[in-house]
Symmetry: C2
Subunit: 521 residues, 2 copies
């Protein structure tokens, strides 16, 4: 299997790149709808917080953890057998990896790969200088200004898929955009995967809550893309969380094996609330994160050499008083920057961050914390950004207003990553000569020529005068965002889906649902 992103260096890629300019910016201003931004190719460098010495120290500590302390692979004899065969020292469920073993195994993992979308224009590169934005993942609750906080439903799920489809700077439909709590636990994955296929044409994620559900996700992807295509191409990228510290449980291992063997992508992610699941220090957390990723990611290569795997790092701290998770603070930022550097040295793509916050509403706390996290995420050079829009309350709620506010920020980051235009037009000497001292640039030729695309235009910010803002009802950003997501949903039109494929998927879902009783835990 060849899993590289060369497929995107083609005509499709060229079209995409052109989309990064004027046309794409017009799309941003439209605030949703048909014209979409391609995934990001960062033209700016990454920011780094560790030097060679620091990186080598943390890598050595990760090796020490792998060898001396070991990682638990629980209730999965098959995984333990694979480790034994690969040369690890396995004591009960504890796997001790000799120094260097995991890195050697990971040599077969691609540095970058393409995840295909059913609309080839929306396929994304994961790795290298690419950054892909995907929505919030996992919240059992949803929140909007009109109805407050409540359990998520399949209707909410579809709404967030539609909003992600409408958002020009969301490149990926994501996975569990909220938990559809009104659908049985053992069946909701079918409705979720179907919703991504039916209501979007962007790439999406598979279920990881049971190996059978992972297999269902692959089966549905095969119906959409064709069995042969799926055998040789990545069409799913799914989230495999470590049970930190230093444990992988049977559920996650089961899903990991299904996806890796199908040649599908996994994001092996220590879910870290530092101080609880890792040490209270940045360097200690980084060593543990690296050790966990090395072990989990290496297992994908034992299942199928070449299977795409991403180094994940979900980093938050806890309040030392209450144990509550905190976001947007300095320590997780340092962890994210450091982990991104470690991933680049490891040679696999990296996932961290997003628009994370502990705030209960889309207020200033939400925005400070989300912006801090998102700035870090981008400058770290993150390749896959889960939770890039909609996250509230430490991941307990998907917020409708927060979602469209975050989308505005994502589009800004995408513009920022285009860097500085040094062309003759960018240098603007004609404008400076025309205007001269003491005048203004508002009407000069250069300004008129660049009027449409000059500056990023926010979809949420109110930049009007105080008096005009007052006259328009003194609305907060949250109130303006409330109108915006409703507009996006009202304007939503589903992308066309082949009727035969749709029928097949619906038949499959009906059959699978009929094959088992509802389970709600």
């Amino acid at each position: 299997m060849t899993v590289v992103d060369s497929g995107l260096s083609s005509a499709g890629e060229a079209r995409r790149r052109r989309g990064g300019g004027a046309e794409a910016r017009r799309a941003r201003r439209a605030g949703g709808g048909a014209v979409q931004l391609p995934f990001i190719r960062r033209r700016l460098s990454t920011y780094e917080v560790l030097d060679e010495e620091g990186l080598a120290l943390i890598e050595a500590n990760a090796d020490l953890i792998l060898e001396e302390i070991g990682i638990e692979f629980r209730e999965d004899e098959e995984a333990l057998a694979l480790w034994r065969e690969a040369g690890a020292d396995v004591q009960e469920s504890r796997v001790h990896c000799p120094r260097g073993l995991c890195r050697t195994l990971l040599k077969t993992a691609p540095e970058s790969f393409t995840q295909h979308a059913r609309n080839p224009e929306r396929s994304v590169a994961i790795g290298g200088d690419a950054t892909v934005f995907a929505p919030v993942y996992g919240p059992p609750f949803v929140r909007d200004l009109d109805h407050g906080r409540r359990y998520g439903t399949i209707e909410d799920f579809r709404n967030f898929v539609k909003l992600a489809y409408q958002a020009p700077a969301i490149h990926h439909s994501g996975g569990t955009v909220c938990e559809p709590v009104d659908v049985a636990v053992n069946k909701r994955h079918l409705d979720m995967v179907y919703s991504h296929i039916r209501y979007s044409d962007k790439p999406f994620m598979g279920s990881v809550t049971h190996p059978e559900r992972a297999a269902d996700s692959v089966a549905m992807a095969e119906m959409l893309f064709g069995k042969d295509f799926v055998a040789d191409n990545c069409v799913l990228v799914s989230l495999i969380n470590a049970n930190s510290p230093m444990v992988f449980d049977a559920t996650m291992l089961g899903a990991l094996k299904v996806y890796a063997r199908a040649g599908q992508g996994t994001i092996v992610t220590p879910f870290i609330l530092a101080g609880a699941m890792s040490p209270v220090t940045v360097a200690g957390t980084l060593a543990q994160v690296l050790a966990e990723v090395l072990a989990g990611a290496a297992l994908t290569q034992l299942c199928r050499p070449g299977a795409p795997v991403v180094m994940g790092c979900f980093a938050a701290s806890i309040s030392m008083q209450s144990g509550a998770p905190t976001f947007g603070t300095p320590e997780p930022a340092l962890v994210s920057y450091g982990a991104a550097q470690l991933a680049r040295r490891l040679g696999i793509p990296f996932r961290t961050g997003g628009s994370l916050c502990a705030a209960k509403t889309a207020d200033a706390q939400a925005a400070y914390e989300s912006a801090n996290t998102l700035n870090t995420t981008l400058l770290a050079g993150t390749n896959f950004v889960l939770h890039s829009a909609g996250w509230l309350e430490g991941g307990l709620a998907s917020g409708y207003e927060k979602f469209v506010m975050d989308c505005d920020q994502l589009a800004m980051q995408q513009r920022f990553m285009e860097g500085v235009d040094l062309s003759e037009n960018g240098q603007a000497l004609s404008a400076i000569r025309e205007v001269g001292p003491g005048s203004h640039y508002l009407g000069c030729q250069h300004t008129q020529d660049n009027f449409e695309t000059a500056f990023y235009r926010s979809t949420v910010a109110d930049n009007n005068s105080f008096e005009q803002w007052l006259a328009e009802g003194s609305k907060t950003a949250e109130e303006r965002a409330n109108a915006l997501w409703k507009k996006w949903l009202a304007e939503y039109e589903a992308p066309p889906l082949d009727a035969g494929i749709d029928d097949g998927l619906q038949e499959f879902i009906a059959r699978r649902k009929a094959s088992m009783p509802d389970a709600f835990a």
Copy 2:
């Protein structure tokens, strides 16, 4: 005159550096009061958006602007005479500088200097790897949740000086923290400078609205520090705005000359709303900014070689629909990063950014925009950060809630800039060994040892559960901040001031006020 920051490499500096650790973090948690953070010594690198080729191109374009187009120095024959003498080609008020002249003149300006505070522990370094936070500057309005938006008064002015004194991560008392509109225009500078001296012991700025008011500021500083000390040391840093594009007006030139001749610091700042005062492109804006700074800063050296001067760059864009200024967007971020690189090559300290926003209240818009600007400001390696707290509404209002919310963010940035602790304690292998797979770190020895200082603790964020937040009244960040600034003001105690100095200052102010009738324009 020797104006370098060697004075801060002494015992005072050592005490300051110790303050950056555990003690300082305890101070942050206290949320104001006696224990203060020293100014920042960044231990992390700067982020750069231009390569050597891009920088050289922009420098060449700035030289072209200086030589071919020229800069206006209006209604100031003395300045024009200085330029003629220095070898510039002066046509009426237009000064054309031959390539390289300004850079040559600026060779006498210090790369870094100390601004002394009346409390020597609070003196700051400006330049190099130092970052100094100063509050919002210039708003005619103030805003708080209780009374909304209204004109600022001298009472508000004192309040913001007190809040800046209380804030652990504000290192500088600033200047016009709001306009005290209830005091005559031609006299309010006396009350403002006095308020900084009386209610704070942090360094402060002088008046620039008239050369006489600049002279009054120097005279008051001489009464505080002693004439001899002021002759040889920088005790004032003041804001000289260019009237962009490519004009310096008589008021600003008058103040610039007073301060430079007194050996006091100036921050020469093109105040740019790109698209109006500069071209709509980043590279065009940077060339113009650099040209304006080169001319204005070089003039300080013609007045007094060695006078401290800072390259300033106030960068915002405008809405191309309404002409309204916008903040926190990608283009000003690119301008700030680029300008910081140009300043480092020029070899003088740099000022940009802060916590800028167009929002009318301390809502999510305010926070997204402020956080974007502040992250850029810090990573750019900015030395002097005006507007670091309290800015609302494009600089039209100083916000009480916004002020303390921003202070929380400043303290986070300060912690971030400490970088990653790679000591044995930082590596935390003892904790990882003690805890092992499947347990948690909450009670382990290493966590207990680092409990006090492990993570930044926000003064504003609510990280509690949704249920607890609901039980406590579902407060937004703005509502919590309302309680916080009131607490800070209630706990405020003025730093001691020598009674003789205080009497002298009051006598001086009374005499100056009596010498002229009130003017209100």
